[in-house]
Assembly symmetry: D2
Homo-oligomer: 336 residues x 4
């Protein structure tokens, strides 16, 4: 039994990479208590038998909301489509939810259904808040349902928000590089060690489902643009770098660019403007994001890099960052 | 003593990655014979003590053209600036040269000197042929001095030549990913295993010296554009992928793009248009280049990928491909 | 139709790592011609759609000996147990066979069946020759069925043969390290990139099926010993290093050890005694084996290292080396 | 100025891998405060400019004990030989020291000087405590000078202490695998990314300086044995696995082995007996050690694996574990 004032957090789908990290972070969190951890495929196994380094000793169970629904909060780490009905039932029981899937990220149901599947709980779309913490702190703090952003949108939007707000994006190409964990835990021909060692390649060219999410949010920030987005797999496990190539409507001096970014992220605990192009190793297994912006003197293009850990700031640690806000806690709690 | 009809090839600078591969290819070549292999830093060591897998047993010597200049051909693998005087002296002795440095790639001496150093042999610039084999076969066959292209220009120009010739490049971004061998054999903080394992990062943003080379050649092909070029280091040893983002002056249907590339590279022994985005692993330690072109249906951008091995087609095996032409041999000889 | 004098070689099981390399080597071989290439799982696909870098354009078919049995030779790359009946049928048709499985390696049927499965063609055991080329050249040249050794036995026996023959092995520990390709092409939790990046671990401790094969051959060489054998997975794709720790019955001086190895492998085209501990990178994608032997001055133990590529000398290139002998060709043909 | 009761800890040599991790751990420690951080080579730079992911903002200074000696404790991360005089001066000022070098690990000055250099402070040897925490808790708690063990001895001794105490080690081979960080921060031919990618190799065969340290401690535990010890480099950054092959004086049943290890490490916060061979990934960037012991049923050998992070439990986090004991703090504080 947990103490009064220590909200219990259900992790639904804790056998995947993202759910397991969420379980780890909640398990060690000074304010929250780890509630049930669930998995269809691995029920009966302890989390640390799958992920020894997370050191979570809880045993995975099959999800049963009748038994597991008595919690204050939930992080849902289900595939898109499968998440919506579980989220709806949790919300029906008054549970605050951070959903890691794409099911509640896109405001426009038609866009969602064009890229994914028929929506199982469209009535919740209006109330869901897009959970890129640094862009929507107040709304997140007031929300009961937060749609946690995709990893690529997280990095891309942090990289571009200052330019979008300033009206400096006329055209945009985003070339992303992600570690193999971005392809998920499923063992496939593509995720075999031998297929990716000494390799780098693009995938889902011009067709990645994170693209409409990027466009939606850039438009809300003031930059209604159609993004050319291409992700690449690189031979590392965790980490993501986005290289953003922006054509501005007018020339931007380097000093102005520097000031824009310094102002935008002054005082942010997790977003850091750094003096050199960031490496993904610099932010591994952390909630931090490193950003670097540069004017190409020959072409006038603005080149902005953002590095995150795709599974942490790109997914699970940002979920906890959001949960902190939803429960009135310091944003950085348990993320140190 | 070599047989009549078996031209001896000097490798100047055979202790670096590129020179050693050139030595290996010449050593096993059915037509050429390996002449002296030279190195300042490692004179007295056998090549296979530095690179066991190349299996070249020749011993490195300090270069002395009085002793070593009696050859039919030379591959010069010296740093830019240091190459020009050696090339000049070799040419003065009538030796045919493939130069791997940047010294004879840029037709405009002023551009060279802006990006590099004062030129030591500008009188040779006019006669040097830019050695991207697939674009200049006839000129290379007739040349005595071939300026072997940089690795990034090789991949980029093979990716973009069909578009450039067709007048389809209005704006251009090139995002390149290269293995760590691209940074050379020098042991530095940046090339330490621990610095690059689990890492990916951009370098020389908007300032890489291969950029003017790309612009020069695109202009000659019909596309006078200023390229935004950004290279990234990825955690693998050999291999290079360029992802080219082209804004065309008018919409291009996928079928037209397919036809353009199929026509351009039909019958090429080393350039292959492939049905999926290529991985660098597919071309490792080979002279092959894999290309894939796609229209982004949402934005109309043309996205073209080219994968090569930066040290092979990007440097040394292309040098041998050129040498074959210069001596009237089949282009693929010794590259199988 | 193949020319007279160009024997056609069937590759049965050409969609796995080993079979595909065998197909590549035969496809480029100056003497043999590539016959049918077969696969249950990938029939209808071209080999180069699975393994672009091998550049084999042949299309995989389901094996049918009525259609495919009309060849001079076959390399069978089937799992143990599945190989024996196919080998038996091929032999019945007079086809010379190199079998990559374990089915014909162990002379003692009972030992085979204790470690594997009931044997489907025990009548062929007596005539099968254990195909470690350097140890059995004459028998291989005269054989119609060669049981190609396992990768670990190949490296271990090359490392230890000189000591075994000299009666210098009183006790033996073999600690092996292999790249992930050693675990095969099946995509599993254990071969996922994320599971093996930044990892190293032992597997099948004291229970690896290559152990009785090592013991059998050491006994034949003169060292009847029970080997303690432990393989480890290391984060690389191809390559294998065995570190052998030998307790000799009496002290052995370093000079004697050096002479023993120099004599044993003088003139060998593929086995090289090297002056420093070998790296697996030195022999990657080759038929070479690098060996280094050292006396530990503190303990008197003899420490011998052997590095091979587990898929080449450890499997497929050794199969071609054997096939060369079986057809009276130079042993190194097509392996350069 | 630090609060009363918050001891300040000097980190001498904080620009190396080990010193920087020590700085990170102390910087976030709930009880200690980070004092001066020093470096000869990088004075003037911030620690996070060298190691962004450690997020230590302190600026490196040249060590000056007149300015820096006013601290309660110090972790000295100097090369062997260079450490002793600094440790001596710190002890002279009453500062408690954990020394990461080898200078105070060997009780026998002659052995030290045979393997290293003349000793600069032999008078301190008698009072130094060998800091393998789990083996010497009481002595460490009472010590003013702790000689932090080497990474290989840490893993090896944790693996073997139960056997040594039980008199079960008649003969011993230790085959160790370490990530490249074990070779230090110096950029050399051997630590270049290209040299180690896709590689594995032994080094310092029979001559590694950690060997006498292992022998000394095994003897104190009851097993006077000469260890055959061979380290290997594997292509990963942090992590170390030792595979220990023990010949027992008499047969040991698996059940007895299991009971021995379960008893030895019951209740240990950082040492865990695990049911399968451990991977180094399981303990990455942590103070944990995973151990697995198995009887080889064919040979009777005892095979024991221990996995640690060479820079954490193998060096810096164990130093903090020891510092906790020296200051009467809970052993796990700041290591969670």
């Amino acid at each position: 039994m947990s103490c009064v004032g220590e909200p219990r957090v259900l992790i639904a789908g804790a056998s995947g990479y993202a759910g397991a990290i969420a379980a780890r972070l909640i398990d060690r969190h000074p304010h929250f208590a780890l509630g049930p951890v669930t998995s269809r495929s691995d029920a009966g196994r302890r989390v640390d038998s799958l992920y020894p380094h997370h050191r979570v000793t809880a045993t995975l169970e099959e999800l049963s909301l009748d038994r597991h629904g008595d919690v204050e909060a939930a992080i849902v780490a289900y595939p898109h489509g499968a998440a919506a009905p579980v989220v709806a039932e949790l919300r029906g029981r008054g549970v605050k939810v951070v959903d890691l899937s794409a099911d509640f990220r896109l405001h426009d149901r038609a866009v969602y259904e064009a890229f994914y599947v028929p929506h199982a709980a469209p009535e919740l779309l209006a109330g869901a808040v897009y959970g890129l913490t640094e862009l929507r702190r107040e709304a997140i703090a007031a929300a009961d349902l937060v749609a946690n952003p995709g990893c690529f949108p997280t990095a891309t939007l942090l990289a571009l928000a200052p330019l979008a707000r300033a009206g400096l994006i006329a055209d945009l190409v985003v070339d992303a590089k992600t570690g193999v964990s971005g392809a998920g835990r499923a063992a496939t021909e593509a995720t075999h060690f031998v297929a990716m060692a000494e390799n780098v390649k693009a995938y889902k060219v011009g067709a990645h489902r994170h693209t409409p999410e990027i466009d939606q949010e850039l438009a809300e920030l003031g930059a209604p643009v159609a993004t050319t987005f291409v992700p690449h797999l690189v031979p590392l496990d965790e980490g993501e770098l986005v290289s953003c190539y922006v054509t501005p409507p007018e020339p931007v001096p380097q000093a102005a660019l520097d000031a824009l970014y310094a102002d935008a992220y002054a005082g942010e605990p997790f977003v850091h403007v750094v003096p050199d192009p960031p490496g993904v190793r610099d932010v591994r297994e952390s909630n931090h994001c490193h950003i670097h912006a540069r004017v190409d003197p020959r072409t006038g293009k603005l080149i902005v890099f953002a590095a995150i850990d795709n599974l942490w700031k790109g997914t699970s640690s940002q979920a906890v960052q959001n949960l902190n806000l939803m429960f009135g806690r310091p944003e950085s709690e348990g993320l140190g």
